[in-house]
């Protein structure tokens, strides 16, 4: 028993820590994001700052955890799927830091096709890049379907994990919807009102929180799965 408690992962502590940091980031966004000098560093609606770095860090952890899962299940059939998940999380982490999807969206939105897309969704030029979710929707849908299938396959006997994975995917979907709403607000930049700016800020908060929490869930289920695998091995 002692041996087990020494090697176990403090899942509860990790969970509390992850959500606490998210909460602190939310507070920093609410109270400091308008600061003239370092507001951008805490602004959840901007890139290349503390929340982005933190989000990227968590995705890297989730990728490492997935890789560890692969190591544990290396002998099993379809274990390589864990590698795919690890790679996906790693790519998401890189994307978060390198702003790849934002860059591609701006590029796309400056094309004639981008004009047409913005017009179809009645979004002004300023909101165009926020439509990245629409541009990449076919890929995102495939990824969501793939992840759901994978977790269903792996956690068929662990309904709690399956639920958490489902919630994580739902949170990402919610985040995507909120970002499209932000595009609507930003797109009417020429006649944007103070209320709209407040609404945009609140929307950014919820959108980023959804994203941060979704990553938490991915990380937690990977860690919990590792914990369980190790526990079963010890037993």
């Amino acid at each position: 028993m002692n041996k087990h408690s020494h090697s176990s992962l403090p899942i509860l502590t990790i969970t509390l820590s992850l959500f606490s940091v998210d909460f602190i980031l939310a507070l920093l966004h609410l109270f400091l994001s308008n600061h003239a000098h370092f507001g951008a560093f805490f602004n959840l609606s901007q890139e290349a700052n503390l929340p982005t770095w933190y989000s990227s860090f968590k995705l890297t952890l989730a990728a490492l955890a997935a890789f560890y899962c692969y190591r544990i299940e290396a002998h099993k059939k379809h274990a390589w799927l864990w590698l795919v998940v690890a790679l996906l999380m790693l790519l998401m982490s890189i994307d978060e830091t390198a702003q790849i999807h934002e860059t591609l969206s701006v590029w796309f939105m400056n094309s004639l096709a981008g004009n047409r897309l913005r017009i179809a969704f009645e979004i002004g030029a300023a909101g165009g890049p926020l439509l990245w979710g629409i541009i990449f929707a076919p890929i995102l849908i495939l990824l969501a379907g793939g992840l759901l299938s994978f977790y269903y396959h792996r956690f068929q006997n662990h309904l709690n994990y399956l639920w958490l994975a489902g919630i994580a995917i739902l949170l990402l979907f919610l985040s995507f919807l909120l970002e499209q709403n932000q595009a609507n607000i930003a797109g009417q930049i020429s006649n944007i009102k103070l209320d709209d700016i407040q609404r945009y800020k609140i929307m950014s908060l919820f959108e980023e929180l959804c994203e941060l929490m979704a990553i938490n869930f991915f990380l937690l289920i990977h860690l919990a799965y590792i914990q369980q695998a190790r526990f079963q091995k010890i037993r």
């Binding site: 004639l112 913005r118 076919p138 379907g145 759901l148």
Partner: protein, 501 residues
């Protein structure tokens, strides 16, 4: 439940949804495979003042007045039957920039301002993220006209006709220099973005360039005066000297005395054609500059005139403005305008084509939106020319073309349906005056058939009344508010009679 079956279903649903979304996106961004990721097109509106269509080679003129335009037309579409909606520059330009007839947008004559509540092409494009610059060479289109609405940069260069500065400098050339500087600044920004590895952040531009040549007085810059003739005849030179070398004054005097001879007409046309050639050289410089910037292929160029000009066809003694002028002269050489559209690389259709169907100058508005891949504003009265550009063999142009404006306090409107043209001028307190012409039998409009064809006249009157009833401008402006400078320009140009007009 069979696990594999569930997973298979999830995957099938996601693949199906993904494909459906992909198809939906494709349907939105169009089926032209070659234009998906090419940067959005730029737009150049090159408007020339007082340019008659039939003085251009592309419309059959024997003199080589516009070689650059001819070249441009090979890469674009030429409209054989384009008509202006006003014989005044400001209302005509306002129609192109708003997609509305003058009686709808409210700027019904030179000297009035376009109402603030009317949205212009520049306003729409600025909202869509375009860099917008307008450069005009006539005070009539300057800030008092309010046509600068929506332009982030706007410049006016105006030199009074006949002034020494007008003769020594070319106002249109000065405007082109301004536009060139603006383009250069735009290009510099692009280069900075490129160097920072952020070329994808490029912002397309909309440039409106207005060249006041060949508007009278006809004074082409040196080098363009004797392109088509060695010089005036000896007798004409003598007459010109007697009139301080002021051609306009000589024409007025000749009309007054019934002394208009072929020498005078030939020299006038030579100068007019020289001005066209000069403007064409500016067009050539613009094209070269766009090519140098690497933007020519992705730029839509619309070449158009606001109205044409009369040359002695209906000159009447005692009415000097009937000789070489345009305002209120509702004849084919004034109403018919040149229109060439060179689409960007995104265009899905054949180039070097001609469209025979009737179109109106305000149709430029909707066409621009379509060529830029943007949604046409709901309030527009314009019709997109894109279907005609893609299928030029179609004759499905406008069945009826209209014009409407205020001239010396008279509301003058008219329409053309097939070979018939009806013109009506209403002056306050007097009965309306009508004229009816059959353009097939009488293209020069010499024979007024209004009393001879009452049934036809009545039918066209009803159509005109119906059209007027649809024009709902709430603008109630007065010329009393214009500046003294504007008043002088309008009086000198024959657009208003005196301070009481």
């Amino acid at each position: 439940m069979n696990i594999n079956k569930v997973i298979r279903n999830i995957l099938i649903i996601s693949i199906g949804l993904s494909l459906a979304m992909f198809g939906y996106l494709l349907s939105i961004i169009g089926s032209d495979k070659n234009d998906y990721l090419i940067p959005a097109p730029n737009l150049v509106l090159f408007s020339v003042d007082t340019l008659r269509a039939d003085h251009l080679e592309i419309y059959g003129y024997p003199r080589e007045t516009a070689p650059n335009l001819s070249q441009l037309s090979k890469e674009g579409i030429v409209f054989d039957s384009a008509y202006t909606v006003s014989t005044h520059s400001a209302p005509a330009h306002a129609a192109m920039l708003t997609g509305l007839y003058p009686l709808q947008h409210g700027q019904v004559q030179n000297g009035l301002a376009l109402p603030n509540n009317i949205e212009t092409l520049a306003e729409h494009l600025t909202k869509q993220g375009y860099a917008t610059g307008g450069f005009v060479s006539d005070i009539i289109l300057g800030r008092e006209s309010n046509l600068q609405q929506g332009f982030q940069s706007f410049g006016v260069d105006h030199i009074n006709s006949g002034s020494p500065a007008h003769i020594s400098q070319s106002w249109s050339a000065r405007v082109w220099k301004r536009a060139q500087q603006w383009l250069s600044s735009w290009n510099q920004q692009l280069q900075v973005s490129k160097q920072a590895g952020k070329e994808y952040q490029r912002q397309p531009f909309f440039l409106w360039l207005h060249a006041n040549h060949p508007h009278g007085n006809y004074n082409p810059p040196p080098g363009f005066r004797t392109l088509f003739m060695d010089g005036p005849s000896a007798s004409l030179e003598e007459k010109l000297a007697q009139n301080n070398n002021d051609l306009d004054k000589l024409i007025r005097s000749a009309l007054q005395n019934g002394d208009v001879d072929q020498d005078l007409i030939d020299w006038t046309l030579n100068l007019y054609d020289g001005e066209i050639r000069f403007v064409d050289s500016l067009l050539g410089q613009l094209i070269d500059y766009l090519k140098k910037m690497g933007e020519y292929q992705r730029t839509v160029i619309i070449f158009v005139s606001d109205h044409g000009e009369m040359f002695f066809e209906h000159a009447q003694p005692g009415q000097p403005r009937s000789a070489a002028h345009h305002a209120g002269l509702y004849f084919e050489p004034v109403l018919k305008i040149p229109l060439v559209i060179k689409p960007s690389v995104h265009f899905n259709g054949n180039r070097n084509q001609r469209v025979a169907g009737n179109v109106e100058s305000l149709d430029i508005f909707n066409t621009a939106f379509e060529l830029l891949g943007l949604r046409i504003p709901a309030k527009s009265q314009s019709r997109s020319l894109l279907p005609l550009m893609q299928k030029p063999e179609s004759t499905a142009g406008r069945d009826i073309t209209y014009f409407g404006e205020i001239l010396f306090k008279n509301k003058c409107c008219g329409l053309r349906q097939q070979e018939w043209r009806l013109i009506r001028c209403e002056s306050p307190g007097n009965a309306s005056k009508y004229k009816l012409y059959n353009l097939a039998q009488d293209p020069r409009q010499n024979n007024d058939l209004y009393s001879k064809h009452p049934a036809k006249a009545k039918a066209l009157e009803l159509l005109l009344d119906k059209w007027i009833a649809e024009q709902k401008s709430a603008a109630t402006q007065s010329l009393d508010n214009m500046s003294e400078e504007m008043r002088q320009v309008l009086e000198a140009g024959g657009y208003i009679k005196n301070k009481d007009s």
